[in-house]
């Protein structure tokens, strides 16, 4: 259901970003970039409680008229951002959560690969496959 999916490293540079190619990709890159601010804000807010149990799923970061942006942060400050189309109202929170969980699992698998150096862009075909699956779902 996603229109754009991005994985952003701890240092806030993108490890992986992909959007439905029909549209203007730069717009999504921009959106993801600006959403990082919101993510940081949310992280720091929860961090005060010394959140070892900080919620990984950040929820809706911000909505615009065209789409909504959801965020998810791992414990190592790797951020996942999913941009979905606003017209896709059928998407429930749980579904988004499950998408993030799947992303996280696949990301973990990529990290487990000893030939992948953390900090490199993600070039795993399996990861690409999963992401495509999530994006193609939008139909």
């Amino acid at each position: 259901m996603a229109v754009c999916i991005a994985v952003i490293a701890k240092e806030n540079y993108p490890l992986y970003i992909r959007s439905v190619p029909t549209q203007n990709e730069l717009k999504f890159h921009y959106t993801v970039h600006t959403s990082l601010d919101v993510v940081e804000e949310k992280i720091s807010a929860v961090g005060k409680s010394l959140g070892d149990q900080r919620e990984l799923y950040l929820g809706l970061l911000y909505p615009t008229e065209d789409y909504k942006v959801y965020g998810y942060v791992t414990n190592s400050k790797v951020k996942f951002v999913i941009v979905v189309d606003s017209s896709n109202t059928s998407l429930r929170d749980n579904e988004i959560r499950s998408m993030f969980r799947k992303l996280h699992n696949t990301f973990t698998d990529v990290m487990c690969n000893p030939f992948h150096n953390p900090g490199d862009t993600i070039q795993s075909k399996a990861f690409d496959g999963i992401v495509s699956g999530m994006m193609v779902q939008s139909g």
Partner: protein
């Protein structure tokens, strides 16, 4: 070249072969298994022609024109002419003798192994290069240079392989066999045969033969003694396999691992990890597979394919899978997108068989997410740190997974998924706690300095506490032995003083020890009075005193200074302690000095270090004081600014 002139004469036209063409043609000639009379095996030639991807009628024409039809066989000259004609045909020229004279590109043969093809295309001009590489090959690959040096032509082919094979030699010498076999056919047949024979004699022939057999079995080539046959079979079988499309399971299965290969992989596994049931860690495997000189993305892909349980480590079967994929890739097979059926985890007898490919893969992937959810947090932290942890936790789970998952496919996933999920939940809690523990473990690099600080600031107080604590235990041997200084005076007579010294990790404590040793030296090994007040008082002195003490050389002259020092000490025990040790010190100074000189040195070093830390801390202190002043000033200015505003606010 003689062949060239022969070809020229027999063809009745002057054929000039460029150097590249010479090599290519000779190599192909060797490949086609010429017998003693120079006739080429028609089967091989036919394959070659098929590989050129020309229409059959063109091939017939070529055969006719080059004269083989007339002769009934392909002699060397005919072969060369035929190759030339093939090149002509491929570039669109008519198949005639006249076209042979034209400047033609090399004939392209599709379906031959990509590597030889590429080699042909990029034949370097110099043979010395490959020769140098041959020489440069590590000693472990001694057989390869030795063999290859005997054959000149494979050098060009070898050039590409040498960079790859030498690094792999320690780990996979029989795996070279498919690679090296390819080189031999391209050699001049005799040389190739000789070198190959020698190679075989050096290596265990069976694995190689069986390796060949695996690939040649579909071609119905037996593993006969003649070395060239397996080699040729391999070349042709690979060609045919490539023509049929790689990964073609029904007919010939290049992905199936033969017994010999399995045995070889087992040995390699053992070299990395003696226990076959254990896991090879990711870093180890990475190092190992990097030796194969495959590009990293490909290795990454191979890893993704073979690590089916996604735990960042390889079991034996996963290792075999990965190894086999690497071997296959090096032999030119493109990597599959998903794991071929014969390489599925059930292919070894260690696990039960899984017939279907895609279902199993999906099952495995379904199971893995439930596993992975537990690992996700761990792995996010820092790959290796967490991976090691997860590996510790997951092997048991993995094994249960494997045992449980495979017996019947429809049921286990459902069984396991709830099981795994229930297991994962408690595990996730534990994982977070582990994370926290690790996080906290990561945090404190600084604690060690802290005790020093406290000691430096409140030395006397702390030491007082120490004294009080230590007092009851003095005679028993100082229950507070400081960890830093090991007991130096080994002699029992100075045991008390040793204990005193043991109490001195922090600055002040050590410094008094210096004084203590002076005491030791002076006292020698004579009767040791329980110098409880003595050592305690020694701990007392402030920094300045101790520095004085450290600077002084160990000599009896310190004894008179001790009472002076002790005056600074808040404790009142000094006067008592001072006289008795002072009295006994002078006579016993010198003999004890030699014993304790080494200890003195250590103490001095410790003192120096403490002094340095002192200096650092004082600097820090001064800086902080300055900052404090600045802040005070700011506060004052702010208050002054505020005052005029107050009446306004109050009104």
């Amino acid at each position: 070249m003689d062949q060239e002139s022969g070809a020229a004469s027999s063809a009745g036209s002057f054929i000039s072969l460029t150097e590249h063409e010479q090599r290519l043609y000779s190599a192909l000639h060797g490949r086609c298994q010429a017998d003693a009379a120079g006739k080429l095996s028609s089967g091989k030639v036919a394959e070659l022609f098929k590989a050129s991807q020309l229409p059959p009628e063109a091939l017939h024409k070529v055969t006719e024109v080059c004269g083989a039809k007339r002769l009934g066989y392909f002699g060397t000259p005919q072969f060369f002419v035929a190759l030339k004609l093939l090149a002509a045909a491929q570039s669109g020229l008519p198949v005639r003798l006249e076209s042979v004279t034209a400047n033609l590109p090399l004939p392209r043969f599709v379906g031959l192994k990509s590597e030889p093809e590429m080699r042909y295309a990029t034949l370097p001009a110099s043979i010395e290069g490959p020769g140098a590489q041959c020489g440069a090959a590590p000693a472990a690959v001694s057989w390869t240079p030795a063999d290859r040096s005997t054959s000149r032509h494979p050098e060009a082919n070898v050039e590409k392989k040498e960079p790859r094979s030498p690094p792999r030699s320690p780990c996979s010498s029989p795996a070279h066999s498919p690679l090296t076999y390819r080189s031999y056919p391209y050699a001049k047949p005799k040389d190739g045969a000789d070198s190959q024979m020698t190679y075989e004699s050096k290596q265990s022939p069976r694995p190689i033969a069986k390796l060949e057999q695996q690939h040649s079995s579909p071609m119905n080539y037996g593993t006969k003694a003649p070395a060239e046959h397996p080699a040729m079979a391999r070349a042709s079988s690979a060609e045919r396999l490539a023509q049929q499309g790689a990964g073609d399971s029904p007919g010939d299965d290049p992905w199936r691992i033969t017994e010999e290969q399995l045995e070889y992989y087992t040995n390699q596994f053992r070299s990395l990890q003696p226990d076959l049931g254990a896991l090879i860690l990711g870093a180890v495997a990475k190092h190992f597979f990097t030796k194969s000189k495959l590009p990293i993305p490909e290795l990454s892909h191979i890893w993704e394919l073979s690590d089916v349980d996604r735990d960042g480590a390889l079991t034996f079967s996963e290792f075999c899978t990965a190894f086999h994929l690497i071997v296959a890739r090096k032999n030119g097979y493109p990597l599959p997108e998903s794991l071929p059926p014969s390489l599925q985890p059930g292919f070894t007898q260690q696990e039960e068989d899984i017939p279907d490919t895609p279902e199993d893969r999906s099952i495995i992937e379904r199971i893995q997410p439930s596993l992975a959810t537990t690992k996700q947090d761990l792995k996010e932290e820092s790959c290796k740190k967490d991976a090691s942890l997860t590996r510790m936790t997951t092997p048991q789970r993995k094994q249960t997974l494997q045992l449980g998952a495979f017996p019947e496919r429809p049921e286990p996933p459902q069984h396991l998924d709830p099981q795994m999920r229930t297991k994962t939940r408690p595990r996730s809690y534990s994982s977070t706690s582990i994370e926290d523990a690790m996080k906290k473990a990561e945090e404190p690099p600084t604690p060690p300095p802290r005790p020093q600080k406290s000691h430096s600031r409140a030395s006397s107080l702390d030491l007082n506490k120490l004294f009080q604590q230590g007092a009851p235990g003095v005679k028993s041997g100082w229950p507070l032995p400081p960890p830093a200084l090991p007991p130096r005076p080994s002699t029992s007579q100075v045991s008390h003083f040793i204990n005193a010294s043991e109490k001195t990790p922090p600055n002040k404590v050590q410094q008094p020890n210096f004084a203590d040793f002076s005491h030791f030296r002076e006292e020698e090994e004579s009767c040791v009075k329980p110098e409880e007040p003595g050592p305690r008082s020694r701990f007392g002195p402030s920094t300045e005193d101790l520095t004085n003490a450290s600077k002084q050389d160990v000599c009896p002259s310190q004894a008179p200074q001790k009472p002076v020092r002790r005056k600074y000490h808040p404790e009142s025990q000094n006067p008592e302690a001072a006289p008795p040790p002072a009295a006994s010190f002078p006579p016993t100074a010198k003999p004890a000095q030699k014993l304790l000189s080494g200890q003195k040195r250590e103490i001095q070093m410790a003192i120096r270090k403490n002094k340095e830390s002192n200096a650092v801390l004082t600097r820090l202190n001064s800086e902080l004081q300055q900052q404090l002043k600045v802040v005070h000033q700011e506060r004052v200015t702010l208050e002054s600014q505020l005052e005029p505003l107050r009446p306004l606010a109050s009104t």
